[in-house]
Amino acid sequence: MYGWRGKILRVDLTRGRVQEESSDPRIAKDFIGGRGMGIQRLLAEVDPNCNPLGPENVLIMAAGPLTGTKAPTGARYMVMTKSPLTGSVTCSNSGGQFPAELKKAGVDLISFHGQAAAPVYLWIDGEKAELRPAAHLWGKTTHETDAALQGETARGARVACIGPAGERGVLFASIMNDRDRAAGRSGVGAVMGSKMLKAVAVRGAGEVPLFDAKAFDEFVKKLNKRFRDNLKGGKHPLNLHGTAVTVMATQNFGVLPTRNFQQGTFEGWEEIHGENLTRKYLVRPKACFSCPIGCGRVTRVDDPEFRGEGEGPEYETVYSLGSNCGVANLAAVTKANYICNEMGMDTISMGSTIACAMELYERGYLPEADVGRALRFGDAHALVDLTLKTAQREGIGDLLALGSYRLAAHYGHPELAMVAKKQEFAGYDPRGEQGMGLAYATSPVGASHMRGDPAYIELLGVPMLLDPLSWDDKAELIKDWQDVFAIIDAAGLCVFFSVRNLVTPTRDIRPEGIMELLNAATGAGYDLEELVRAGERIFNAERLFMVKAGLSREDDTLPPRILREPLPDGPGQGSVCHLEEMLDPYYQVRGWDQNGIPTHEKLRELGL
């Protein structure tokens, strides 16, 4: 096979065996790769009603056909499993170097089954793959684990691993790769920890073979040239200031979640803005494999109270740990980010869980005795302290480790958790951005900005501008946008490059650039209709898993604050999210019934 390597590793952790399987070319074409091949396998192998932290759950790491190629941003992979946070399917995406190395080692997908009796790691050295004992790594941070594995496998080996948070079952533990890149969401790290799998280390050999290398190289050159020409000798904004530059957009649109979504603007926004990060703590930007943008941030904080070095923060982090906790202190936010990276936790869920705790405290529902300190919005020291306590599951940290929904429910106020399907919101208030509400609510993985990010449509006008406050024109475009994102993820590309350079900026959002790359790489001969259909197939397959896990329309909802409490400030002042009005038209364009369940006709049409 070309583009795809044709090899799947099936790792039976219970028996300590690694088996090689060949991928089925028909499945590869129908599901593209990565996120698509992952959900195909998950549906085939996992009982959606299983205990997500039990041996019957399966953890999948899957790269796309363009991962590890020179396709711009061909750096991504997807981790898929049943989530312990949401009880639904999850797919958490990451870039860096590890995914490309996996492809160079000839592997498209790894599925981990069962549960090891003692900690292990998987070492893939070119053609060979073996499980090795990892008791000596258990308890180590992600950075320590990365360094130790470089020492005992091979220098330059690429590592994906969990930190102490994943080992201790923090329900939003991440899987970190290349030290600071995160498959962050939905507790994929907790599933890895439950399997006693500490890490995967890989060293590749050779390149990813391409079907038509000449056509591929020419098209890549053209794409890179067009990208450079558009910059007119300047820098890309995401390279200049990182993704935290997004604060300028969300603050000005009034959708920057502040104090657990009690406000849509933050008086301290300039402190957490990407421009301030550049000025204060940026050491250098950093790019993932084959990426012409380079939005990553290598940073260092010298402030004696919050000293540290590492990578980040990203936009989602400065929202969750910053404005959402009312913390206008970028040093503290960055420090808490470093702790999340080293302990292996999702910064979004961490920050939003602390924000929820702060509101519970301020309203008198969470007693001071339970925290051992006052816990007001804006307390930078509490932010850092509780982040560490959560990773260690110490004191109140043991409850915070369960995420905001379970925390708020414990204190009798689940309505104060800003979640969809028990997963914390991304950094956009759906009252000032109606389509975002629809995307959060209908995402099979719970609230996410990666399931058809409507910020492109409602804030940036890509592929076309729809008023952020309107709700009667959102359903169809968001459905199409969700499907295009599935194609991008499955191919192994990054959204940042793809939506602007590989998809037509027109209402019909044709993924022509992705098709050209896929066809030159794989020789699969996709036509546009097949490719668009594959995106829809992937989204519906995820929905199918969700439905089989017992979730449906009543779970496609948002907290009462978002549906009934008008936004008090900013341009969206007075708005609530009109989710109910968007949901029926959305189900209709999806071909789902009134309960949000894909119809038999739709499933047949998609070959599911």
């Binding site: 997004t246 957009a249 936009y315």
Partner: protein, 77 residues
């Protein structure tokens, strides 16, 4: 009439070197395009235009005291 203009990130180069908003003098009936012209911003520069926090276009008509925000069309993270 006067309107306030705020530029961010890569678009700051079209404004004054120091931080803070810029006040632009316009004539009654002027559109956003007039602001871009005064700033010397080429029409093909990719950007988001907000007037008083609401999405606007190059031909949106401005009035006294409006707040125009211009930033590069990027978001994510």
């Amino acid at each position: 009439m006067k309107v306030e203009v705020q530029l961010y990130a890569t678009l700051r180069k079209y404004g004054p070197l120091q931080e803070g908003p810029l006040v632009v003098d316009l004539t009654e009936g002027d559109q956003v395009a007039r602001v871009l012209e005064i700033l010397g911003m080429p029409p093909d520069e990719e950007k988001v235009i907000l007037v008083n926090g609401r999405p606007a276009k190059w031909d949106s008509v401005l009035t006294e005291g409006d707040r125009v925000v211009l930033f590069p069309a990027v978001a994510g993270g």
